[in-house]
């Protein structure tokens, strides 16, 4: 363990060294976040409107089930398969040949969580609330934007957070190929039998994941209306949002 602390404290590991093409820890964190953000952005653009539409209309729910079925495919396998198909077309020019398959897999991994939770969130809105909004003369689109969406935000956030964690984890595995990101240290350490580097890489990835989740939980606190999250009472009741999520998760996987 002391070797790991030494490795992490070595200033040489925090700087890029173009001479022997070593990329330092800060730059790899940036790379890691970049891969993850691209995928999460694309997945959000696809899954959020789809989930809202399915939840609002109650139609085409099979799409959610189909996306959920995707989850049993191992991410590593898909990554290797796509890399083997795509990479030869880019050989020797850029790392796009590995970046494109990685991004495809990351998007595919992020979509099911966001889609399932968005759908569940909208579907779970109390029918009485929806009827009241209708009764006040809101149109379908207004009900969706002003009632169903804010009410389903806690679930949407929890779906997005679990998607983010899965994407960060899988982006690490992408360093199995010659790509950047914090996984570089894990796989370089593994191949060079430099286990201090490997363990340090693991610790950095774990810290990144925990910190990102923490930031997202703060964003969630700021975005979700207190009327929905029920965060005023002093009595230690169970958070209704998580309670709703649990039952929905069981339905989604059940």
């Amino acid at each position: 363990m002391s070797g790991v602390i030494t490795w992490l404290n070595d200033p040489a590991h925090w700087r890029d060294r173009p001479a022997d093409s070593f990329v330092g820890i800060p730059s790899q964190i940036v790379n890691h976040l970049e891969y993850s953000l691209i995928a999460l952005g694309i997945a959000l653009v696809i899954a959020l409107p789809t989930g809202l539409a399915i939840g609002h209309s109650g139609r085409a729910t099979w799409v959610v089930a189909a996306a959920n079925a995707l989850r049993s495919i191992p991410g590593v396998g898909l990554l290797v398969l796509l890399a083997v198909i795509i990479a030869p077309h880019f050989y020797g020019r850029t790392d796009l040949g590995y970046l494109i398959p990685t991004e495809i897999v990351l998007v595919l991994i992020a979509i099911p969580s966001i889609l399932a939770n968005t759908y569940a969130g909208v579907d779970n809105v109390d029918p009485a609330v929806r009827d009241a909004a209708r009764g006040m003369g809101m149109s379908g689109g207004e009900v969706l934007r002003q009632v169903e969406f804010p009410n389903s935000l806690p679930l949407i956030f929890s779906g997005f957070r679990s998607a983010t964690l899965q994407v960060i984890a899988t982006a690490t595995i992408a360093s199995y190929f010659p790509l950047g990101g914090l996984g570089r240290f894990i796989y370089d350490g593994y191949h060079q039998q430099d286990y201090d580097q490997m363990v340090s890489g693991g610790i950095l990835v774990a810290l990144l994941a925990v910190l990102v989740d923490l930031v997202l939980s703060l964003v969630q606190r700021l975005c979700v209306s207190r009327g929905v999250s029920g965060r005023f009472s002093k009595t230690p009741t169970q958070d209704p949002a998580t309670a709703a999520l649990r039952t929905k998760e069981e339905v989604a996987t059940g």
């Binding site: 590593v76 396998g77 890399a83 083997v84 363990v199 925990v210 998760e249 069981e250 059940g254």
Partner: protein, 236 residues
């Protein structure tokens, strides 16, 4: 980039993705060993995890003050990416790096992280009236837990077990990228064989076997739950 087929073995008809079965038959002994390793690496951590989670979940339910800390700690563990946990486990548990035990230990940590909450929430789903009725019938605390609370919580716990097992199948494959023996090794072999031209059979074989394993485990747990909770079938 096209290389004449006569010089490179991999451009042969056998490199077609559909030849994964031939690949399996050709490397039967290795592949069966990987499959067995994958089976036990997916199941053992869930079983051990459940054994650890039952008392922890019970404590989280029984003593209300312990619920938030237990759930926060297990939630934190669950956010750690799998490959990171695999490499962090050996120094924490005093193992050599790349010890084969690091994979089941890491996966047990995940299973506990997931199942403690499931057990606690499952026990919480038992209604107060049921508990009072059981006590009024003279059930002691232990007997009430074993013959009333746990059976009622069984479907919730089983749902958690399904999630844990199916995600374990994928996570075990990740350990193949750091040289651990399991179906993940097939992906590694696929990459080795894919220079200079793609060679699909081991990769497709790995994906197919992983998906089949996940489906099989899922089916077994669903079936087991149905057998263990016959009263639920009547209610439908």
């Amino acid at each position: 980039m096209r290389v004449p087929a006569t010089t490179v073995l991999a451009t042969d008809a056998n490199s077609s993705p559909w030849h994964f079965w031939t690949y399996f038959m050709d490397h039967r002994s290795d592949d069966l060993r990987y499959l067995w390793d994958h089976v036990y690496l997916s199941l053992l951590p869930v079983v051990v995890g459940l054994i650890i989670s039952l008392p922890l979940g019970f404590i989280a339910r029984r003593y209300r003050w312990s619920y938030p800390p237990i759930i926060s700690i297990t939630g934190l563990l669950y956010t750690i990416p799998s490959i990171a946990l695999f490499v962090i486990v050996p120094p924490l548990f005093g193992l050599k790096s790349l010890d084969p035990k690091q994979v089941p230990i890491a996966l047990t940590i995940y299973s506990v992280a997931l199942l403690v909450r499931v057990v606690a929430d499952g026990l919480a789903s038992v209604s107060e009236e049921t508990l009072l009725a059981a006590s009024a019938m003279g059930f002691g605390r232990m007997r009430r837990l074993l013959s009333v609370e746990l059976p009622i919580a069984a479907p919730v716990i089983a749902a958690g077990l399904r999630v844990a097992t199916v995600s374990n199948v994928s996570l075990v494959a990740v350990a193949g990228t750091i040289g651990m023996d399991n179906l993940g090794r097939l992906f590694d072999e696929g990459i080795q064989l894919s220079t200079p031209t793609p060679y699909y059979p081991p990769i497709v074989l790995g994906i197919v076997l992983c998906v089949l394993l996940a489906l099989a485990f899922d089916g077994i747990i669903v079936l087991g739950t149905r057998l263990l909770t016959p009263w639920r079938r009547v209610a439908r």
